[in-house]
């Protein structure tokens, strides 16, 4: 191929042309990705992370304090219950001891063994009192904080003892 022909073919190739408008901003925009919508001040505030972190921290702190407080109160309640159980045990031992003391005194006085009980009324009364005592003991074992039941138990025991004394004196 002569130089002349070569030049002619080169002239036949696509020629540079300048676009009518500046295309670069569009290209730059596409490279940068889609433009976010314009945000309001509130939306911008919501998108700011630190207040959320602070609120979450506060909530966590409040919940933490409440849980700790609850655990503390539960612990106190349990300790109160344990202390009440100890007091109830001591009081029951005292009540039993006083009853046993009377029993021993009766035995020493020669009233050995219970006499035959013939009155159904009093047998029923003794059964009622005995049942009441057992129920009170069960309840106190279940919930020693109901210490006032000790008074009821002592009264029932005293009444039963008085019937017993009447019976033995008969």
């Amino acid at each position: 191929m002569s130089e002349f022909e070569l030049r002619r073919q080169l002239q036949g190739l696509r020629q540079e042309r300048q676009p009518g408008v500046d295309l670069w901003p569009g290209i730059a925009g596409r490279i940068a990705g889609p433009q976010p919508a314009r945000l309001s001040a509130r939306q911008r505030a919501l998108r700011t992370p630190w207040p959320w972190a602070a609120a979450a921290g506060l909530v966590l702190a409040i919940v933490g304090v409440q849980v700790a407080n609850r655990v503390h109160r539960a612990d106190l309640a349990e300790r109160e219950r344990a202390a009440a159980a100890l007091r109830v045990d001591q009081a029951l031992a005292l009540i039993d001891a006083s009853y046993l003391g009377v029993e021993r005194e009766l035995s020493r006085a020669g009233h050995d063994g219970p006499a035959a009980v013939t009155s159904p009324t009093l047998m029923n009364a003794e059964a009622t009192l005995h049942g009441a005592e057992l129920e009170l003991r069960r309840t106190l074992a279940r919930e020693p904080r109901a210490e006032y039941l000790l008074d009821l138990l002592a009264r029932a025991r005293s009444k039963r003892m008085s019937l017993e004394l009447q019976r033995r004196d008969a």
């Binding site: 013939t118 009155s119 009324t121 009821l152 008969a170």
Partner: protein, 300 residues
Amino acid sequence: MSRRFILAPLALALAQVAHADSPIEKNVPINADGRLEVNNVRGEVDIRTWDRNELELRGNLGSGSTLEVSGSGASVSVEVKTPDSGRSWFWGGNGPREDTRLEIRVPKGISPGVHVVSADVTIDGLDGGREVEVESVSGDIRLGSRAQRWELHSVSGDIHASGSAQRGSFETVSGDIHAEGVSGDISAESVSGDAHVDTSAPISEFKGNSVSGNITITGALAARGRIKIESMSGDVQVSLRGEPSASIEAETFSGSVNSDFGRVDREEFGPGERLRTRVGGGEGDIDLKSFSGDVTIRKR
């Protein structure tokens, strides 16, 4: 047929006549404010009043029992005795075989003390005496009187008291208590029986306790008056008349607290409800507890 066989049934019949009830007829002088003691194991004791300073005793003496009347004036004792006097009537002794009915008329100002086992006791019309005391095992007690003090105790018999008294003490094991008209210092104690007390005048102090019986009291609270009731499984109800002035505390472990005063809180740890409040000037004190029964405080 020999004479022995003819006389034997006749002797038996005569013996039965001798053991039949014998009428009682006895009059004894007694002071208008005298003391009367009555002991009767079984049957009935009925005490009424009249306008004479004299005790009139009527009724029927049960077979095998004897009647002993002693004293006069300031103190008179009426005692029905059984042949088996060395043993208690109900614990092992034979006791009377038949009922004895005692109908007694007395001046209205006397103070009686009545002790029975299975006899019902009725006392009516007394007015102005110091006290009325009745002890019973299974007999019911019915009292209609005005006295300074009532003291009524029973094991399984019911107690019904009306009239007025400045102090009242009621005690049973399984019998119910119904008292109206008592005021001032009152105590009601039972194991399984219910207690209903309605007061005529403001309550200075009421103490009630039961194991399984319900306790109900209705009345006004005196200034600095106290109401204290404790029960294991019985319901407790207090109905307050007028405008109470008291600190109120009520609690139950497994029942519920219902109140016209204050706010009821549930226990945080464990079951139960509690009320702590103050009404009026908070001068008086109301303390109500039931383990598994309901506690109710109402304004009437």
